[in-house]
Structure formats: structure tokens, C-alpha cells
């Protein structure tokens, strides 16, 4: 029983860590977007407002990917272990021979 609970907790922690790998992507994407925006503003300084506005919205969209990963990681750490251990205990009461 303890081994099964340990495996569940370990897998949840591992899953949360793996989910957070998705947090790397938005940083790279936003960096590229801003670099291109710098170039665009240098070429057309009069369009600075429009470029900044579009880029800000683009960065916010890109960042959501990281936020989804964050939400999944939090759920895996704080919600999933209790739920899975509960399911395991229920299963053991249903099948007492195990």
C-alpha cells in the first residue's frame, strides 16, 4: 500500500515537473517577437504605438501556454495525489483480497 502511494506521489511530482518544461517555450517565442519588433520600430519609428500594441497582445497569447502548464502542474501537485490515493483506497476496499 505504501509503495503504491509512493509511486502515485512520485508520478504526480514527475508529471508536474515535466509540465513545467512548457514554461521554456513562451520565453523563447516572446524573445523572438520582441527582437523582430525592435527591427520593425527601427525601420518605421512612426509605427511604434501600433507595433507595441500588437506585440503586447502577441506576447500575452504566447505566455498563456506557460500558464496552462502552470495550472496543470499545480493541479498535479495539490489535487491529483489525494484523488488518486482515494481511488486506490476505494479499490482496495472493493477488492479485499489484494
Amino acid at each position: 500500500m505504501e509503495l503504491a502511494i509512493g509511486i502515485i506521489l512520485g508520478c504526480c511530482a514527475l508529471g508536474a515537473g515535466m509540465a513545467m518544461i512548457a514554461g521554456i517555450g513562451p520565453g523563447i517565442g516572446e524573445g523572438n517577437a520582441v527582437a523582430s519588433a525592435c527591427e520593425a520600430i527601427a525601420r518605421q519609428p512612426e509605427q511604434k504605438g501600433a507595433v507595441t500594441s500588437t506585440m503586447l497582445m502577441g506576447c500575452a497569447v504566447a505566455e498563456t501556454t506557460g500558464l496552462y502548464a502552470l495550472v496543470i502542474a499545480i493541479l498535479l501537485i495539490f489535487v491529483a495525489p489525494g484523488m488518486f490515493v482515494g481511488i486506490l483506497k476505494d479499490a482496495l476496499t472493493w477488492i479485499p483480497t489484494l
Partner: protein
Amino acid sequence: MKSLDPTVKRETIYVAAVVLLLSVLMQAVFLVIGRWDLTVLWGNLLSGTAAVLNFLLLGITVQNAVTKEEKEAKTMIKASQSLRLVFLLVVAVIGAALPAVFHLWAVLIPLLFPRIAVMLHPLINRKEGGS
């Protein structure tokens, strides 16, 4: 400290307004399904504020980055994104670790409200252009 760019100010006010509107909607949904209590309100306040603050910090970083060289801007935005993600992680962990004060779902859902605000942005802009 440099003053806030009018574009950043305008977009942050827009996002804050949409987050407020969606927060009210979320409170109403919790009330309708009979799950409302003070923890929902505190959770919503915590993460709604964090979401708007995150967008404001993104705006300030972008405002500063566009005046820099390409490579420097890239590094700056990457560092900012990492720090802001850590900030949101801390907010989410605080919300999840204190179930007596914050409702977990009321903390997690408002973090995604700025995305909805961005989705609605072209629609509202079209309306403004049309009137």
C-alpha cells in the same frame, strides 16, 4: 523611473476591465451552483490582481525592450518571462496551500482571464472602428 507608455497604459486598463468583468461573472457562476463562500472571493481577488500585475509587468518590459538592441531585448524579455512565471507560480502555490483562505479553482481560473481579454480585443476594436 520612466513613465508608462500610453499604449501599455491603455492595454493594461482594457485587460483589467475584462478581468474584472469576468471575475464578476465567475462569482455569479459560483453563486448559482451553490459553491460560493468567502474563499472564492479572496481567491479571485488574489489571482485577478496577479494576472493584471503580470500583464502590466509584461507591458513595462516590452516598453523598455523595444528601445534596446535586438539581442539585449531578447535576453531581457526571456528573463522577465521567467521571473513573471515564478511570480505566478508563487501566487498559485499560496492559493493552493491555504484552502481555508483561498478556493483553488477561484485562484487558478482568473490567471487565464487575460487570454480571453486578448481574444476579445479584435472584436472590440472592430466595434470601435465601426462606430
